[in-house]
Amino acid sequence: MSEDMTIQSVRQLTEQLRRMVERHFPFVWVRGEVGNVSRPASGHFYFTLKDAEAQLQCVWFRQQQRQRGGFDPLTGEVFETPPPAPEELLRQGTELICAGHVGIYAPRGQYQLVVELVQPAGQGGLAQAFEERKRRLAALGYFAQERKRRLPWDPVRVALITSPHGAAIHDFWRLAAQRGQAAHVRLYPVAVQGDGAAPSIVRALETANAHALRPDGPQVIVLIRGGGSLEDLWAFNEQEVAEAVYRSRLPVLAGIGHEVDVTLADLTADVRAATPSHAAQLLWPSRQELLQLLDDQEAALWRGMRRRLERQALQLDNLTRLLRAHAPQRRLERLESTRRRLALALQRAAREMLGGRQRQAEHLSRMLRSFWNPARLATEAREAVALEERLRAALPRLLSRRQQELLWWEQRLQAAGRQSVSRAEAQQERLALRLAACDPLGPLERGYALVSDSRGALLRSVRQARGGQELHIRLQDGALGVTVAQIRPRADTTATAEKGE
């Protein structure tokens, strides 16, 4: 390498080391005891992690100290309680697990861990084991919602698995006393803490399930324990316990620890109660509720009955009325009233019919009188005589007037005939004159001549003639046969040919 030959500055060497270290340790987990904690005004933490043989400088920058809210940045697990504050974590002498990358701080020439995550190492063991098991069991479907069974309603045979001593059974029993119908609760005593706890719980679960096959066997298993630390509750996180709950043929109701405590047995159970008391509440309805339910049912019973009685009473009333309506006495009365009504109607109809006939007769006689009246006939006869006389007087007058008219028309006809003859004669004369004026031979009398060729066609132009041609000239009183000696057209070309005119 060429760098072997060159002399480097401290900065150059440190820079190379820094790059190398950062490449090799981008993210590491380190476990150790905290020492030499200092926190200057910048808010960054400086401390050492050490064990018996070595120590490591650490820096935890302020920006990294937020611990990213209420969930584990590595597993995604949501914390039920917020993570502890940084100052609580970094107590002198506590064991921590820190994660981050290894870097080199050039100004001091020292390597250090740049911390990103801090976890207490003490609890870490159990908590990690819990999380690991939880993930494994979840993958096996232990917590699947669809395999959760419902608890029997108001059960009368209950298997209780817990310690016969301690607060849990008392809390449970106190609540139970006010709830449900009389039930038989059989306690399967177990140790709930310590080495033998898990196997004894598993045995009790198996025994209760075996008893379920008997006629007086339990309908449901209740698994409870009072609150405690994670270590105290550990038996309920053992895999064998979770497995026994998972395998149980009877539905399991678990109420372990306080509300914040969650164990694997809780998660596997069909129903999870927050506490032992809560388990009793979930298991049985309160007697008050049951009594209320009874009250409701009784009220419904009474309502149903009353409604039905009322309906039938109404029906009975209706039938009674109908029956009365059809009694023989009522029937007679009804017939009599019908008869009376009809009789009245008949009378009225007869009256109306008679009155109508009378009115009609009067009307007809009035009409007859108006046609057949002697006074009127006499008047009409007189009128007829007068008309006849007028007719007789009118005829001669009419005849003489017609004769006069005839005469007058005769005279007019004669005058018109005469007039029309003289008018026709005058017109004939006019026409004869006009006719004479139109005679083509008339101009010959004034000295004009007609020239025609041998075939009789008239010549109008000198161009129609040829030299030596024989032509025919007609005058007023005869004709001449001539021969064309010379043709002299007029200078302006439109002249007629010269014919010896």
Binding site: H170, E298, L301
Partner: protein, 89 residues
């Protein structure tokens, strides 16, 4: 539904169910009157018995130990105060 006064179930749950049945049948109102009356009486009886049962209800507590069942009474004296209770809360 038959008129079965003599067959009122012995258990609370059965009686509650029977009561519910009777209420439904009466609400539908299709029964002959006498049958309805009989049902009504049976319903009242069911309800009375249930009520009595609830008022007298006491849970029975037994303990299963060494393959046999024994009665168990919880007293305040056993509520975790005994010296041999180091393992229970």
């Amino acid at each position: 539904m038959k008129n079965s006064r003599n067959k009122i179930p012995a258990d609370f749950e059965g009686r509650m169910e029977r009561l519910q049945e009777i209420v439904t049948a009466l609400e539908e109102g299709r029964l002959p009157l006498e049958e309805g009356m009989a049902l009504y009486k049976e319903g009242v009886e069911c309800s009375r018995l249930c009520r009595e049962q609830l008022e007298k209800a006491r849970h029975q507590l037994t303990i299963w130990q060494n393959g046999e069942e024994k009665d168990l009474t919880l007293t305040d004296a056993v509520s975790g105060r005994q010296p041999d209770e180091e393992e229970h809360i």
